[in-house]
Symmetry: C2
Subunit: 448 residues, 2 copies
């Protein structure tokens, strides 16, 4: 019995210690929720902190505010089992927390600077109270290189900052499979100043991840760079094949053969090499911008990030020229945009290239009618004046051109007979090459 008691309260028993740790996750976006739900799924008690009280209510019912079915299934379970709770932020929550995951939207998307005031607030709340047990702040948000050093300074400046450790642990999840990517990451990156700063996170990872997942432990700046550089590489890869596609289209070359011919070199490969409207979403373009943020302490210019953005920006202008070449001026023309999300099978429109293209077409005088089966009917699409039409028929009524905006499965399998009879000209721009061309051509459509 004595032995049992001893074991139960031994500070060396990580499992029991950690299950009693107060874990909070700040931010209820993809990253925050995937992190929190996975921790809770591993039977740890987690509190998610979210400012929006309506969202707190929604999540507390086990419902997500975006489409991520597997994550939602697990959310329901962990909410029901009371491993996960959601609350609006209070100073007390931060003060009682031992491990604080920060997964807030960390950078301003027009200035590409970090949201310092939010981080200062967190530093103050965490560092304002004396602590028996060290607290660990884990930065999962994506930073500019060198930001963690600044944040560490904010923490040091608080009354009890010396009892708070800072760790950079970037996330690499993909939307659509956020839970699975959190459960089985390709690697875990831990950036810290002193080795001891990462003790709590290392223990936590040992508890929730199998040994075979590689852990890279390094300094904070290197960890920040790993995250941004990984996405810059991916952006570069997509920029490269889109640049080739862009040229091939302009010079009327044989793009499918070119893609295949290049990709058959196994050092290049064909995965993650599909073309469409360029790279969008809330990660790749943002991370390329952050690589060269003005706020960085070093003047080194990352050419690879810069050129990926140049290629991506130019692409949409060239696509506009391509469209105009075939259908003439867009002034007063109606155009259907089928698929608006930033990638297939998600309902997230942040950074969507389809929307960027829609905005260019609107500026050129067109009326864009969109339809996205993943997005609620009738709502206004974020950051646009466009409303999601209820049906394909509505979206295609009176149009001179159909543009594929996102290769959702439900878009790829559209039947020509569902297109409005009141269509003006049967032109399609399918830059994703996702439609069965022969079938559509048979139905009288011309691919431009």
């Amino acid at each position: 019995m004595k032995a049992f008691v001893k074991r139960r309260f031994s500070p060396y028993n990580d499992n029991l210690m950690l299950s009693r740790s107060q874990i909070i996750v700040v931010g209820a976006g993809y990253v925050g929720l995937a992190t929190a739900v996975y921790l809770a799924h591993k039977q740890l008690h987690v509190t998610v902190i979210e400012k929006d009280s309506n969202l707190v209510d929604l999540l507390s019912c086990g419902l997500l505010h975006f489409s991520e079915p597997i994550l939602e299934k697990h959310l329901k379970q962990v909410v029901k089992k009371k491993y996960l709770t959601v609350q609006v932020p209070t100073k007390e929550l931060y003060q009682h927390a031992d491990i604080i995951f920060i997964a807030i939207d960390s950078a301003n998307r027009s200035t590409w600077e970090m949201k310092h005031s939010a981080f200062k607030q967190i530093a103050e709340w965490v560092g304002s109270v004396p602590r028996k047990k060290r607290a660990t702040i884990v930065l999962k948000s994506t930073n500019i290189i060198g930001f963690a050093d600044k944040f560490a300074q904010y923490i040091t400046n608080t009354p009890h900052g010396n009892r708070v450790s800072l760790v950079v642990a970037p996330e690499f999840l993909r939307e659509g499979i956020a839970f699975d990517d959190t459960k089985k990451p390709w690697r875990l990156v831990i950036g810290r100043k002193a080795k001891k700063d990462a003790t709590a996170l290392r223990k936590l990872y040992k508890q929730i991840y199998p040994d075979k997942i590689p852990i890279i432990e390094t300094d904070m700046k290197s960890a920040e760079l790993i995250k941004l550089a990984s996405n810059t590489y991916l952006a570069n890869r997509l920029a490269f094949i889109h640049e080739i596609a862009d040229y091939a289209r302009i010079d009327s070359l044989d793009l499918p053969s070119i893609q295949k011919g290049i990709g058959l070199d196994p050092r290049i490969g064909t995965d993650y090499f599909e073309t469409g409207l360029g790279f969008g979403g809330s990660c790749l373009p943002k991370d390329c911008r952050l690589m060269n943020s003005k706020e960085r302490t070093h003047s080194f210019v990352f050419e690879s990030a810069r050129s990926a953005m140049t290629i991506n920006d130019r692409l949409l202008n060239n696509l506009m020229l391509h469209i105009k070449k075939h259908i003439g001026s867009l002034h007063k023309k109606r155009i259907a945009l089928l698929g608006v999300a930033f990638k297939a099978e998600v309902d997230d429109t942040r950074g969507s290239r389809a929307i960027d293209l829609a905005n260019l077409m609107t500026e050129a005088g067109a009326t864009v009618q969109c339809f996205d089966p993943m997005i609620e009917k009738g709502i206004f699409i974020q950051e646009t004046k466009l409303q999601n039409t209820p049906t394909i028929q509505d979206a295609t009524e009176g149009v001179s051109l159909i543009v594929i905006g996102c290769p959702h499965e439900a878009i790829k399998t559209i039947q020509p007979r569902t297109i409005s009879k009141k269509i003006r000209t049967r032109f399609i721009s399918d830059y994703f090459n996702c439609l069965p061309k022969a079938k559509w051509e048979k139905a009288g459509f011309t691919f431009i």
Copy 2:
């Protein structure tokens, strides 16, 4: 018996027809010889055309003028069996040839323009005679995009050009394994105007390659692009990781962890991701330049090719700053350069980055003493005033710094005791991370 005779002389029996075809390969560099030796190895009679009569004599003895052991082994065999002969160019050879592989050094390396006069000459020789059987010219040389169309025009302008077909069949071999890459290519690319233009080459490929090797048949321009774009992609990949390494060095970050952290994303991977002095050699930089050659018919700028070169060029300047930061001015200092070839285990110094760095160091006032075990002792290295010293001891005498220029196996395994006792300061710059650091540090060396 009748059936046998019929079969033997049937024009539909490709094997027999082709074995009687006159095949010539123009150019006795890596590509020309790898092509010719492989064809001869498949028991086809091949004549290699080479202007340099000394080289004709050397090759006719089964000896190579560069280090490529497997290719040389096969060359010996096919010369001995009389499948392969080498001759200086004559008009007659071209006039009697049915298949003409062009593997000459096709572009001027200062203007990045194609060597039109050489191609015009070939067109004239091949197209000046009437032919019973169509002749096929196969462009294996790397072209600017659109060059084949111009070359086709040169052919059309000859008296019997209508009996000559042109095919673009770019090569993708890697130096050091030129024969193996020719024997087992990852893909075969055939670019042609009309399908019939490639009939002879298609038949030849069918005879010498197994069915499982993918063939991509497309137009000539697309084939030209596949070649250049593949190398541009590879140059980009190397530029990317060198840019990260460059920054990591300047900002004193943890490069090995960064490389690993990025490469563990399987969409990125760790192959072809090693850092050193940037990308060099006679292909990647040339092909990036050709992508944006002024001679192209289209004004589209390939950003990916441009930025890869920008990163690569900047790198050497940054390495110079890095060296000066540690050893001060290079004026009147001696520096050892160990390894001069453009890549490990070859003796080719064309486009060597080690030489580029040596030239920068010389310009800065240093005396560079080089040693490359793959290169003949005492000879002057191409395009430099540098002589290959006989031993490591000679190269390191009186030096203030040892720079690793190429990670040959024989360089990686150098023993510290072989370094001259008369070394001035024990500094090493090993940008390849190829030396066993602890061992060298134990011997009193400092890595900078």
